[in-house]
Structure formats: C-alpha cells, structure tokens
C-alpha cells in the first residue's frame, strides 16, 4: 500500500474536506498511518496541557541591573579603545617620521643635523635666559610673584578640568541622547 499521500495529509495543515474523508477511511484500515496520526494528536494534547513557562520573580530588576553593568562596561571599553587609538596613532606617527627621515637623508647627516639643532636650541635658551634675567632685574619685585601665582592658578584650573573630564569619561560615560 502506498502511504505517502496519506502521510502528506496527516502532517500537512492544508487538507480539503474530500481528502479528510479519504484519510479517515485509510486510517481505519492502516495501522502504520493510524499510529502516526495518533502520535501527532498526542503531541498536540501535550502542548495544550503544558502551559507557558514564566521567568522567576524580579526579571525586570535583574534586567535593569544587567543594563547598568553592560552600559558601564561599554563606556569603559569605549574609553580604553580611545586611549589605545591615541597610543597607536602616536607610535605610527613616530615610526613614519623616523622612516621618512631615514629615507630622505643619510643617517650621518641626520645625526649631524640633530647635534646642530640641539646646539642652536641651547644657544637660544641661553639668550632667552639672559634676556629674562635683564628683564626681571629691571622690574619691581612684586610683579614676577603675581605673574607666577596667576600662571599657577590657571594651570591648576586646567589640570582639574582635565582630570574631571577623564574621570567622567571613564566612570560616567556620555549619555546616548
């Protein structure tokens, strides 16, 4: 006996009334198909009486806790990536400059130029120190003190602002909105 068409009728949801009658007649005679049909009905009965699984109490609280942790992790990751990028960018720039310098001149010339640059720099620093000494010896005594205090305070404010910014980025992050 060919069971295939009847198997199709049993397991398909699209079955006409005529096919339904034909199937019932076949099931009455065929034990194999009858068993399959009965097994499928058993499964459907099991599903109907099985109910719905529900999460343990406090699902929302756990989600909110997870959300806070995930957001904090994402922010930290973002900051780490930013600083890592800065580090790599610095290293890449340094390597590029070194390669460019080595390619555009001989190492000896590069060494001599470096020494000359350092000598010039020292010379200019000495000139600047002499000029500063002359300037400070000709102005009233209280002016350098006020200048130093003002510069110190400005630097302090800038430093505090920078520390606060880094702290906020690291621990609080930037809101999505």
């Amino acid at each position: 006996m060919n069971h295939q068409p009847f198997e199709n009728m049993i397991f398909s949801e699209e079955i006409t009334a005529a096919e339904q009658v034909e199937l019932q007649q076949h099931l009455a005679d065929c034990e194999t198909c009858s068993t399959l049909s009965q097994s499928l009905r058993t499964f459907e009965t099991m599903v109907n009486s099985a109910g719905v699984h529900q999460p343990a109490n406090g699902f929302l609280n756990r989600w909110q806790q997870n959300l806070a942790e995930r957001q904090a992790n994402e922010q930290s990751l973002m900051v780490r990536r930013f600083f890592l990028f800065l580090g790599f960018a610095n290293i890449a720039t340094f390597i590029l400059i070194a390669v460019f310098t080595l390619l555009t001149g001989s190492p000896v010339k590069w060494f001599v130029n470096t020494i000359l640059q350092i000598s010039h720099s020292i010379m200019w620093i000495n000139i600047f120190i002499d000029a500063a000494r002359t300037f400070f010896s000709n102005i009233p005594l209280y002016l350098p003190l006020i200048g130093l205090i003002s510069a110190g305070m400005i630097l302090l404010v800038i430093m505090i602002a920078w520390i606060l910014m880094v702290w906020r980025l690291a621990y609080q992050g930037v809101p999505n909105e």
């Binding site: 198997e7 199709n8 049993i10 397991f11 398909s12 949801e13 068993t35 399959l36 049909s37 097994s39 499928l40 058993t42 499964f43 459907e44 009965t45 099991m46 599903v47 009486s49 099985a50 109910g51 719905v52 699984h53 529900q54 999460p55 343990a56 699902f59 929302l60 756990r62 989600w63 909110q64 997870n66 959300l67 995930r70 999505n176 909105e177």
Partner: protein, 198 residues
C-alpha cells in the same frame, strides 16, 4: 496591541527607559517561554531572555513600527536561541531544572500529580530537544503562539514554503519520536494522564 502599549513603544523608541521597562513587564513571559522551550533549561532561558531584551533595547531605533512588536521580539529571541543551540548540543533534560508553569497551577494539586505533570512536561521537552533548532523554533511558534505560516516566516526570516516544509518535516519527526517512545513504554503514564484530564 493596546493603545497604552503603543505609547510605551513610541516613548521607548525615543529613549525612555521607563517605557521600555513597561514593555519588558508586558512581554517577559512570551519571550521567556520561547527561550525556555528552545533551550530546555531555566538558567539558559533566563540568560537568553535577558539578552533578547538587551538586543531589543540597543536596536529600538531600528525597529519598524509597521511590524508587530511581539513578532520582532520573538524573532530576536528565536535567532539568539538557534545560535546558542548551534554552539552547544543540549544535554538530557533535568527534571529539577525545568521552569515553573503558569498553567496548570501546581499548588492546587497533589505531590503525585505534580510529579506526573513534571514528567509529562519533561517528555514534551525531550521531543522538542530532538528537533533541529530551526525546526523547533517553527514548531514552538506554531503551537505555543498560534502564529500563522506568514508570521513564522517573518519571525524566522524564511519564505512561506520553507516554513511549510519545516513544519511538515517536524511533525513527521515528532510523530515518529512519540511512536517510538510509546512502543518502548515511555508513554504509558502519559496516556493515563491524558485520559484523566479529558
């Protein structure tokens, strides 16, 4: 979808965390039930449901409001569970790890009855676990959520003919599995249970 749910949805898309929390309260059970039926384990189901809402939260701006929200959520959950299933094979069902049911209410039943229901549920899960993850998702959406073939296709990102083919193949496999278990005597008590509930 109720009017207030539509309001929560709009607010959640605009970044309102409180509205999103209300959506979680509304949809936590269907999402968890799908994950639980797919994974067959309480802890994995909890993790999968949490992950589903996290992914939904991250992608709220991409959500198409013309689409059903529950279909979208279940789509995220189903795909996540299918991925998890592909990563690891399911271990045999542990009776004690099975999640609690809403229906039937165990508090109203005798200990023997509770045991019988748990066994009944474990056997059902055992049958589901034997199906391929994609087929299992289609069967769960069809039988637990009464989704149409079109809705299943939308949820699992399949064509309707693929859904029909999966459902057909799964039903055939389920019938064969149940027949085999009945022949080995595993379903004798199941039959008793069915006759006692009818």
């Amino acid at each position: 979808m109720k009017l207030e749910e539509q309001d929560w949805l709009k607010a959640a898309i605009d970044g309102d965390n409180e509205a999103f929390s209300k959506l979680i309260m509304t949809y936590q059970t269907p999402v968890y039930n799908l994950c639980s039926r797919m994974l067959g384990n309480q802890q994995d189901a909890e993790d999968a449901a949490q992950e589903t809402f996290w992914r939904a939260y991250q992608n709220m701006r991409k959500y198409d409001t013309d689409r059903s929200f529950i279909t979208w959520l279940l789509s995220i959950a189903a795909h996540y569970c299918i991925d998890q299933q592909r990563k690891k094979k399911l271990a045999s069902v542990d009776f004690d790890s099975l999640p609690e049911e809403i229906i039937p209410d165990y508090s109203q039943t005798s200990p023997e009855r509770v045991l019988s229901l748990k066994q009944h549920n474990a056997r059902l899960q055992e049958v589901l676990n034997r199906l391929a993850p994609d087929d299992r998702a289609a069967i769960i959406l069809r039988y637990w959520y009464a989704f149409s073939e079109q809705e299943i296709a939308d949820t699992l990102h399949l064509s309707i003919s693929a859904v029909k083919s999966r459902l057909f193949r799964s039903r055939k496999q389920i019938a064969a599995l149940i027949s085999a278990q009945e022949q080995s005597g595993g379903y004798a008590r199941e039959r008793e249970y069915e006759s006692s509930t009818i």
